[in-house]
Symmetry: C2
Subunit: 439 residues, 2 copies
């Protein structure tokens, strides 16, 4: 995904499945609207692709819409720049790295503006600093504080298409900052909020959000709508169509988000709605997410006293290891078992950290396993529908799949199982909740 800036280009998570909806042109959708569109690095990865984006933007413009286009760096460019920086400094200075990396989007805005001009349209590019997108000074992971939308508004009123560099801003002192992972999505959403846009469209290499990964369940359906809360759960569980931060941002500012494919001309993608807007598709469950990047760790026989969770997880957090699920059951005989999951890459390191910790708190034993998978059933419907958990547990039991850990939230049930059963579990849960049926 384009949002993974410091990693090599990832394969798309869901393959493209063409589902024909009404094309926008023939629908009543969005007459003369102000639309923010965001195109990721893959969508602008070559001059040919940039020309394609320009043609798409032009067709939206011909329908009378006002358009603000947010773009990422061309795929590969950010990695090239980071590699160059590392030839100079193993740990590049964050301020200077931002000065450097921000050039990636600056090149793309110029190229896309040229492509739009070449289409006979009026267009003008803006860096984050030119907009002004004012952030705090946390280089490489800055947060947007405010956006001065006056220049953009004036250009739009004069009939121009405005092209904005994603992922970047400036702090109050005028230093260049970047927003960190998923930054271009966040730029799009923040601009849509500042401009009170009718919609923020995130163009990606997938054509929408699916009930689950179609590579695992061929019957997986694209969702027309999904709520923000569900999207947050889906995103954090590995369905990284959108970066979680931009979804949070959209929820906070009530920005209508739509995920669309930049490689297809038709299809309305998936609209991410506020729950109150959700009229159609009153399915109980929206999707089955899964993740096999995790490992579980259990400390057995932990003295059951206040502060013990912090004594265990404090050193893990200090080592910059992210913790996902945490499960602690009711203790007995003054002892309890404490379990959590970490990224699989952090498994060995976490075990080493915990050995002296376990000895210090006089726990009995540290166990763990990295052959696990997490499967999650997500849906706002479970708030009002009883029996979701029992349906899930029964479904897995019928297949002889043992449940190792369970953790729940308002709209999600996450279950840790043996890795080898993951695909099976996803398939049977997808069927059990009727996700293969049109709602």
């Amino acid at each position: 995904m384009a949002t993974h800036r410091s990693m090599p280009a990832k394969p798309r998570i869901f393959p493209l499945i063409t589902i024909k909806f009404n094309a926008f042109g023939s629908s009543e959708f969005l007459k003369m609207a102000l639309i923010v569109q965001k195109y990721g690095g893959t969508s602008v990865g070559s001059s040919e692709r940039i020309k394609n984006v320009a043609r798409r933007v032009a067709s939206w413009h011909r329908k009378g819409h006002q358009l603000v286009i947010v773009v990422s760096a061309m795929s590969g460019e950010t990695n090239r720049l980071i590699a160059l920086a590392r030839e100079i400094q193993a740990q590049p200075d964050p301020r200077e790295l931002d000065v450097m990396v921000s050039t990636g989007e600056q090149v793309t805005i110029a190229l896309l503006s040229m492509a739009l001009l070449e289409q006979g349209l009026q267009a003008r590019s803006y860096t984050g600093g030119q907009v002004k997108i004012v952030t705090d000074s946390a280089y490489t992971k800055a947060r947007i504080e405010r956006i001065d939308e006056a220049n953009i508004r004036r250009d739009l009123d004069e009939g121009r298409i405005v092209v904005v560099a994603g992922f970047q801003g400036i702090d109050e002192a005028g230093n260049i900052t970047t927003l960190g992972r998923g930054g271009s999505d966040t730029t799009g959403v923040a601009l849509a909020a500042a401009l009170k846009a009718d919609e923020c469209q995130i163009y990606t290499d997938v054509d929408g959000v699916y009930t689950t990964d179609p590579r695992v369940v061929p019957e997986a359906r694209k969702l027309d709508t999904i709520t923000f809360e569900e999207m947050l759960e889906m995103a954090s569980l590995g369905s990284k169509v959108l970066q979680i931060r931009s979804v949070e941002f959209a929820g906070k500012y009530k920005v209508k988000l739509r995920v669309l494919s930049s490689f297809e001309d038709e299809g309305e993608g998936t609209l991410i709605t506020f729950e109150e807007d959700k009229k159609m598709e009153q399915a109980t469950i929206s999707g089955i997410a899964f993740n096999r990047d995790e490992a579980k760790i259990t400390i057995l026989g932990v003295p059951d006293r206040p502060g013990i969770a912090y004594q265990i997880l404090g050193p893990v957090g200090d080592a910059n290891i992210d913790i996902d699920m945490i499960v602690q059951n009711v203790g007995h005989d003054g002892l309890t078992d404490f379990s959590f999951t970490v990224h699989r890459n952090d498994y060995q390191k976490t075990l080493e950290i915990l050995k002296p910790v376990a000895a210090h708190i006089k726990a009995r034993e540290v166990q763990g396993g990295d052959k696990i998978a997490k499967v999650s059933v997500v849906g706002v419907g479970m708030r009002s529908h009883a029996g979701i958990a029992s349906t899930a547990f029964r479904t897995l039991a019928e297949e002889g799949i043992n449940i190792q850990m369970i953790s729940t939230s308002e709209i999600k049930i996450s279950i840790v199982i043996d890795e080898k059963y993951m695909e099976l579990a996803v398939r049977v849960l997808h069927k059990a909740f009727g996700l293969d049926q049109q709602p």
Copy 2:
């Protein structure tokens, strides 16, 4: 030269000849000064070279100097960006081209700042817009109008080395501009003027200004000093060590300019002085410049009446063809001959433009030739020394070299000859004026 932004990297004009002077460290030169240094694209062409520049800057810093470093884009980068733009637009939009091309220097400032930080120094990068270097809005060939030096001054006072992107600025509206050819030199000189720096050092791939090209005359000597006026004549005649515009700028603001090699650790380069400063080296002539890129055109039998020069050269200028030498002798019988030179690439086009013009003004004939060379004797000393011209003419006559055109200024005599005699003419003139001797 790094200053030729839209062309492939050129070979250096003068080969490196190591002449040992007092190293700066041991001289009395510049105690605790404010120095602006400019490094061109070749000097920062790789991460290794950037580290070398950082080491050089560090050694100047250790001597207690305050330093502002202006850098170009890494060699090849600007061409890469322009090629990318041309994939989108055959004639890239000037505003957007500047947005794009300016990223070249932005990458270099970040890398050099990292390299300086890695040396344990304090350093901070500035884009043209961050400084603020305010220009007019003539994209791709903007002119600097003013520089706000407050931020740089504060950083210097706090002990930082300031690294500034050459070649770029912003206009009053905040649009990114570039300065066109030689832009990074001009940035250096303009910053030196704004900061009232003690010296502006231009680091290049040559170690100074020579009496002529050592490839033609092995006895050519590096000059310790040259006056601005001489440098202007030398630069405009093809000795493109410095771009003429930055030299003019330095003269206007009385900035001391020094040309140095970025690949040698010793040598004091060539100081470009105001005439009144010139104490040493009271040679009559400073150098022999030459140029074989020109073609000559003569219109014979032109009616000798007011406005005729404009009638001839107006259409040529309108076609954006630069005219160099212009010669018109005293007429007789109401007719005169009118000659001028243009760049050789413009020769055919100029002839075509002039055919109808000549017919219209009832001139007898248009002639021309592109197998010519221009050789120039340059030196402020000729103001006070008689006989320079006759020495030059006699020297050429002794070798049987016919003179086709002559044009003179206060400090220069330019002679057009057959191209095949160019090297010979340069050698004999160099010797005739004693340029192979230490002064």
